[in-house]
């Protein structure tokens, strides 16, 4: 076990062995493969997030047990892949990773609302009792890499501070092991990876021929418990809560505390990690589970939209709507899901945990997508199995609940 001198806040050792989570009635899991997660306002008190889940990770320079840092307020995101840390919170020095042409490997991470630019470093990543060695991680907003490529800057505004990013970092633990995958092994203009020559003004697009060199979902590099993750959150009263605590359990069918049960398994496609939702008779084949989305997002023009500035993509029904949909995996297995839609303007002003927050998924995929965000995870146990990972009941990529 590494001793890394952090403050331990939010770490895996706190209170996991006692009591039960009130609402769901199931016992709180314990073990070295368990870490606590919390849904709260995050690190930016001036602009707290709604339905955003955080955990704590410890990173160390490869090979060192003392050059380590424990970082809290790391957003937990099943809609991305890999660990990213904001440079302003990083106090230890990590070795940078080389591109295949000898320059320093850097990355442009795109989000719907901006970009995060920075070099790829190598770190040992420790979460609770799990530890992965030499994990490629992104350092966002490094002062040593000020020259953001034009194509990256043109994705939107920079999200390279804790305030603009809304977290000290993000841990992407979705169904894939790498953030880009095969595309970046052969395509130079992949819009993700760049090589920065020493002293060079410009960073140039580059391939990353080795998948292992791409920013990687740390779970896939744990020695054991590396085939996926289980997220367990208690249920929430319909009108919301100030905070919600739950657990993240690493591995599936690898320990006594992470066994597959009778959950419904929905396999997802190997390109996007998506399945089909059927809502009101309409097939939405680009649907996904995503703890990084703070609501349920899909198109339903019959639900009243909010009018307040900044909320126009949310739903504001005059009374809570109780709806249902069918989720169907690539394997043909389907399951019915009941969910509620509340008034987003009321919810957002009062709570950081808002189980009925929902809005439109706009744009070209509006007629093909149902984004099951964090509210889907409240009150249940959700399995995410990484592509190629095998369990007693299947092979990833799949989700189960």
């Amino acid at each position: 076990m590494l001793s890394c001198g952090g403050d331990g806040s939010g770490g895996g050792s706190t209170g996991l062995s006692s009591g039960s989570s009130g609402s769901s009635g199931s016992s709180v899991p314990s073990g070295s493969n368990v870490v606590s997660v919390v849904v709260n306002g995050g690190p930016t008190s001036t602009s707290p997030d709604v339905n955003t889940m955080f955990t704590t990770v410890t990173i160390c320079a490869p090979g060192s047990t003392t050059n380590c840092q424990t970082i809290d307020n790391i957003q937990v995101d099943t809609g991305s892949y890999g660990l990213r840390i904001l440079a302003p919170v990083l106090t230890i020095s990590l070795p940078l990773q080389m591109a295949s042409d000898g320059g320093t490997l850097a990355e442009c991470t795109a989000f719907a609302d901006g970009y995060s630019w920075g070099p790829v470093a190598s770190a040992n990543v420790q979460v609770s009792g799990e530890s992965a060695s030499s994990v490629p991680v992104q350092v966002i907003g490094s002062a040593n890499f000020p020259n953001v490529p034009a194509d990256c800057q043109s994705v939107g505004p920079a999200e390279d501070t804790v305030a603009s990013f809304g977290a000290n970092g993000i841990i992407g633990i979705g169904v894939f092991a790498q953030d880009c995958g095969a595309g970046c092994t052969t395509v130079v203009d992949n819009q993700v990876y760049y090589s920065c020559a020493s002293g060079s003004v410009q960073c140039e697009p580059t391939t990353v021929p080795s998948l292992a060199s791409q920013v990687t979902n740390p779970i896939s590099l744990f020695p054991t418990d590396n085939n996926g993750v289980i997220i367990q959150l208690p249920s929430v009263a319909a009108d919301g809560a100030a905070t919600l605590s739950g657990s993240m359990i690493f591995g599936v069918d690898t320990e006594t505390n992470n066994a597959s049960g009778s959950q419904t398994i929905l396999t997802v496609d190997s390109t996007f990690g998506e399945f089909t939702t059927i809502f009101n008779g309409q097939m939405l084949p680009m649907s996904f589970l995503d703890t990084g989305s703070n609501g349920l997002y899909w198109g339903d023009s019959s639900i009243t939209a909010c009018t307040e500035s900044g909320f126009t993509n949310f739903y504001c029904p005059t009374s809570t709507l109780n709806l249902s949909a069918t989720l169907q995996g690539q394997n043909g297995t389907s399951v019915n899901e009941s969910f509620s839609v509340g008034d987003a303007e009321t919810l957002n002003g009062n709570f950081t945990v808002a189980p009925t927050l929902a809005g439109t998924f706009g744009g070209p995929n509006a007629a093909t997508t149902f984004d099951w965000g964090l509210p889907f995870y409240f009150g249940r146990t959700v399995y995410t199995v990484i592509q190629g990972g095998t369990t007693k009941v299947g092979t990833g990529p799949y989700v189960a609940f």
């Binding site: 602009s47 997030d49 709604v50 809609g79 991305s80 892949y81 991470t109 795109a110 989000f111 719907a112 609302d113 901006g114 970009y115 034009a150 800057q153 043109s154 994705v155 939107g156 505004p157 999200e159 603009s164 809304g166 992407g172 979705g174 894939f176 953030d179 880009c180 595309g183 395509v187 130079v188 203009d189 992949n190 819009q191 993700v192 390109t271 996007f272 990690g273 680009m286 996904f288 995503d290 990084g292 989305s293 703070n294 609501g295 997002y297 900044g310 126009t312 993509n313 809005g359 439109t360 998924f361 706009g362 744009g363 070209p364 995929n365 509006a366 007629a367 997508t369 984004d371 965000g373």
Partner: protein
């Protein structure tokens, strides 16, 4: 994607030397949304893709496939104006290029308080923009409500 509509005319657009020269100049203010059809060719050079044009009733779609696999579709009215841009694929395209003068509106909305990193919407009288998705699967659309030709459904702008 336009799958069910009849395709009246398909043509290939070739890049001219003049367009290439324009694309290499630092000024891209005349690119993309709200500009003339010729700006699509400038965008294609910037996005390192070729254009596939498809004619529909009342408008033409000029689709650019980027090396990353992302598809960018620019909607051109019969008067030659780009009135909408849509994209989807593993990466977000160069929006400064494709949104042109409206990129600043996008940046302002993205910097204002909004809902997380996976969704963004702008609903203004002269600009509607919706962007969303997750890593490896992004999509978005921007259009100019007052420039959408009569009879064209917003749902078809995808």
């Amino acid at each position: 994607m336009p799958t069910s509509k009849s395709i009246a005319n398909v043509k290939k657009c070739l890049l001219t030397g003049a367009v290439l020269a324009a694309a290499l100049s630092p000024c891209i203010a005349d690119a993309g949304l709200g500009q003339a059809e010729t700006s699509v060719q400038t965008d294609a050079v910037r996005l390192k893709g070729s254009i596939k044009a498809t004619q529909y009733t009342g408008y033409q779609v000029q689709e650019i496939q980027m090396p990353s696999g992302t598809l960018v579709r620019e909607f051109v009215a019969t008067n030659g104006t780009v009135f909408a841009v849509a994209w989807n694929g593993p990466t977000v395209p160069n929006l400064r290029q494709t949104l042109g003068q409206y990129f600043d509106n996008f940046v302002a909305a993205a910097q204002a308080k909004h809902a997380g990193h996976h969704h963004l919407q702008i609903q203004q009288s002269d600009l509607v923009l919706q962007a969303g998705g997750h890593m490896r699967a992004f999509s978005g659309r921007a259009y100019l409500p007052q420039a959408v030709p009569a009879g064209v459904s917003i749902a078809d702008l995808r």
